[in-house]
Symmetry: C2
DNA sequence: GTCAATAATCTCATATTACAAGAAAATTTA
DNA sequence: TAAATTTTCTTGTAATATGAGATTATTGAC
């Protein structure tokens, strides 16, 4: 999963990679141990990352992520075309339903909420903005996976088959692939209480240039708000929104191109 | 202001530095021009940053900041001791007054809001989370500057004197220093409509180990809510909160130490 | 305030590897 | 499918990142 750093540039970046949800604070000693760098080398790296604000440290405290991250996040919010193009649809869907609408990016082999909006009171998601979500549970993961090109999809499922088995999607690669067929056909995915009990999730893929999805547009609604034909209605709305976001991304590219 | 990169590690980081509020999207061609790197070198850097999710690009679009930033911001929110220690005081002050309370970090030569909470309706700040604020205007900048050690303070003011003059704080270094004396004496800074007309700002410094402040705790209130003796009352409350946050940071250090 | 202990940085010779030019491969558009 | 563009791969060479140990700052205790 984590690629080994092969050159000094990647070794520098690798320092940031060890800051995870499980381990948010590291002492230099621990980092030397974990990363296998010599003392001067590690301190050289830490100095660079600290000077640039990626890391902070206080006396006798380990290092933690620094304010540069906050600044970059602000800039990202202003520049990410997915967030910019998706915002009107977050508003639209939350106005129409008592729900939470999300923009979720596919990155590396993770999916990750980059923006959301909510019109329901019970809106505390266990996967807020920035927290990687499980790929194998819920509509969002499936809405993306289902549209991956086969040559990427099959190895991915093979590699993570245990997850799909645990989630009850299927026991073999073929079974999982089969389960994804209907998603592909309908153009959106639905999940009943897979991530949070009592919550139904809808999701549809967002594309950039063409073949492979880069993100998903999703809506989560309390199960008892979704009766009968509402399921299909909401599913189609989510699919429509995802399609229009894809189109908006394409038109942005075109704008750039014609400058 | 922007330090020139002297080695390959810093040159790699320098790529991220060109993504600013003025310029959120860059093509490889533009980056070559701006940074002066050769084509293969630039692409090598871009590949690393893109693979790690720091940058994204879509066909025919320039590069923009990538989802890794969002993920790191999530981790930072969970790990930054300033944010964690300050949160209860954001709640406390916003409950007591109809105001916006902020935690602002001093980093590099910038100040930057890392968390805020608001109990007033008109809460749209022109400096939201992550956007660097001007040092020379408003209570926050002064609350930090006033407590810097002289040997750091004097060169800083000399270098940025034009800003202080423009803000009407003082025309000479000595005049600016004099203006900061009362802040130092009172332990907090007040500003009447300096950043936003009709809004009064209060701010007090937060310290880590001792000498130099690392952040500021601030409250902004509509001017007409602050009558007579309320000014001093709020100022003292802000100072108290900042002091308690400093103490909380120290106790966290102690906790680490005794492990 | 001074001193001991710890933490962070510096020096320097050496091996590593980052670099640029051009070529090749992979994408994307027509 | 072909042409154009964008991105990555070679390669020899020069530049520089590295680690061991020594040195200097910082911090905590008295």
């Amino acid at each position: 999963m984590i690629k080994k750093a092969v050159n000094s540039l990647e070794r520098l970046q690798a320092v940031l990679d060890v800051f995870t949800e499980d381990r948010l604070e590291w002492t230099p000693e621990e980092l030397m141990e974990e990363l296998g760098y010599s003392r001067p080398t590690l301190y050289r790296y830490l100095k660079i990352l600290k000077d640039r604000g990626f890391l902070t440290s206080m006396p006798n405290t380990g290092f933690t992520l620094g304010p540069r991250v906050v600044e970059m996040d602000y800039l990202l919010r202003k520049s990410d075309n997915l967030i910019l193009s998706g915002a009107p649809y977050l508003r639209k869907l939350t106005e129409r339903y008592e729900c939470t609408a999300l923009l979720v990016r596919w990155y590396g082999e993770k999916i990750l909420c980059v923006d959301s909006l909510s019109s329901s009171r019970e809106a505390i998601s266990s996967y807020p903005r920035g927290r990687p979500m499980p790929l194998s549970r819920g509509a969002i993961g499936r809405s993306i996976i289902a549209f991956l090109p086969r040559r990427n999809l099959v190895p991915l499922i093979k590699r993570t088959l245990h997850e799909w088995q645990a989630a009850g999607v299927g026991d073999t690669v073929d079974a999982v692939l089969n389960g994804l067929k209907s998603v592909r056909k309908k153009g959106y995915a639905v999940a009943y209480g897979e991530v949070t009990p009592g919550v139904t999730g809808f999701a549809a893929p967002i594309f950039d240039a063409g073949q492979s999805p880069i993100a998903s547009f999703s809506v989560t609604i309390a199960q008892d708000q979704v009766r009968g034909s509402a399921v299909e209605e909401i599913g189609l709305e989510v699919r429509l929104a995802a399609g229009e976001i894809s189109a908006a991304l394409a038109s942005h590219r075109h704008k750039i191109l014609s400058q």
